[in-house]
Symmetry: D2
Subunit: 183 residues, 4 copies
């Protein structure tokens, strides 16, 4: 199958970042591009919290999480001013671009259209060379998303073989309720 | 850091498999070894469901999920007969080995001791060459576990570069509640 | 302790109802008044779904669920037009009144102030005679809320003694995952 | 509909209580009788945690929570010794009676049979006069269970009218994630 180069995104404004983000500048990093609408229940309950955890979990790895506000319905209800309050209240700290409105009355905004997205939430993985490697509309299981990210990060590392040994100290810090310890 | 070769496991019985599993026979595959006790609440609520999802999600990839019943307390309450009923009721279908009791009255069973586990649940990732790459006691975040599995699977594939394009058809089949579709 | 008569609410608009709701007209019914803001995460994840389940569960009993949009921050971001889209997307069907803005630049709206609410979500139970019987800011455990509703509904029934026998047919229709049936 | 007097339970042993519990001794109190099997997944994930919360929430009210271990399958796997370890690990502190085995090889134990239960979990509400008022096999929604308990507790209080005013201090102690406070 042909690999598809990710189209440059077309945005009107960027939030949570001092300057706008261009796809090209992120070459060399894996990109988790997550398209959402602030009034889309599935985005709020699932996709945004998932993106937030990805930011935390991979903060020391070459992964960049980018939000894209792709409003294709209720346009008047999801203006920039409302989006700013939303991001503040939901503690979303990663960069979010606002997709440029469609031309000639087209309700679907431009980047959303260029990527052929079918709705929100949509999660797209772009590899370090700028190719689209995954595009998932709806639920993206955490284990599956993790594995897809892990594979792309391995490519960045080149030979892919990390030499670390067992890394209990940095992993099992969170306790699972009801775990049983050897006394 | 030195990498540690995974010690061979010492088991008395295997369930859910026609013959016992030896570590050596799995060379070339990534192993998700998950140690549990049937009466450990954190194993039941979290680690076992996580292992079951890993079986489903990676069924077409070189990953083998292995359960290890490492009883270090309430030994009389968790005999093989009870374990069999437990596995049946919880629909656990992957192979489960019963760790051999410790010698000389040692409450900790042998494989658990050899791996230096501190309790249950413990999740261990063994790479395709037999080395321990991760060992986590307690909660292992799905995204993080997925990424660690993804990295090890990438090693198995060698160059690590999969050529697939966006794979929407096989991923986004599950719907997320409240997703919004372009009409 | 003195019982407090619920103050009449002061609203500018009503949604999801052909005409505005007055407290007095609901005399004889128990009222679950739930104050929220559309961009308050705890309202969206917890209080609104709880109110929706209350509507379904008590549809044949003298309980009325009323939403109150009490905007005390980000006023510009939560105007009526945005609220309408929000209620549509989240499938909120019960009546929602928009609390009247505070006077003289007071950020807290009028009904919110009259009830002494400390934030959102706030859940208030008003009995059939118009008295405030519970007022909870934050989490209101389902079991506890249920019990408080059940007690107030018992008052409406007068002697309080329902004569029904075991009512398996109408209750246990939902299956719990992993239940075990006698074959 | 005829109301049915709850049959006396027939048990072989009681755990978590110094002496056995008789139905008659609990006259004047509402009883939440919850039948379970220690290897029934739906009991472990849902019914037992629900019963535990009921104990905590209603500790100052005339409600008694009673567990009943009604083994009707895998009898050898769920003996008293295993049940004791289970109750210890899951921190179950309320009294649990072990239902007496059926006679003449009948797999269903005696109390389970007398109450006509169809499986586990089954939750039964007995009023202060000893009548069965609810019997639910499977999921018992928290709000619904709360309302049914609240109605029965109101009967115990007689006139049913509590005079308390708004009781914010004792209710909203738990915080809901993402609640918004007036500054």
């Amino acid at each position: 199958m042909e690999r598809q180069l990710a189209p440059e995104w077309e945005t009107s404004t960027w939030l949570n970042t001092p300057s706008s983000l261009a796809l090209e500048e992120l070459r060399g990093r894996v990109i988790l591009l997550h398209a959402f609408q602030m009034l889309c229940p599935g985005c709020v309950s699932r996709a945004i919290p998932q993106a937030q955890r990805a930011v935390e979990l991979f903060e020391n790895e070459p992964l960049t999480v980018v939000g894209l506000h792709t409003v294709f319905e209720h346009h008047e209800a999801m203006q920039e001013l409302s989006l700013r309050a939303f991001l503040h209240e939901y503690r979303v700290r990663y960069p979010v671009g606002i997709d440029k409105p469609g031309q000639h009355g087209e309700p679907i905004p431009r980047t959303m259209h260029a990527y052929g997205m079918r709705g929100t939430p949509t999660t797209i993985l772009i590899d370090s060379q700028g190719y689209i490697r995954q595009s998932v509309f709806g639920a993206y299981d955490d284990l599956r998303l993790g594995a897809d990210i892990g594979a792309l990060l391995a490519e960045v590392r080149g030979t892919g073989v990390r030499n670390e040994g067992p890394d209990d100290s940095t992993r099992g810090t969170e306790r699972v309720a009801g775990q049983c310890s050897v006394s």
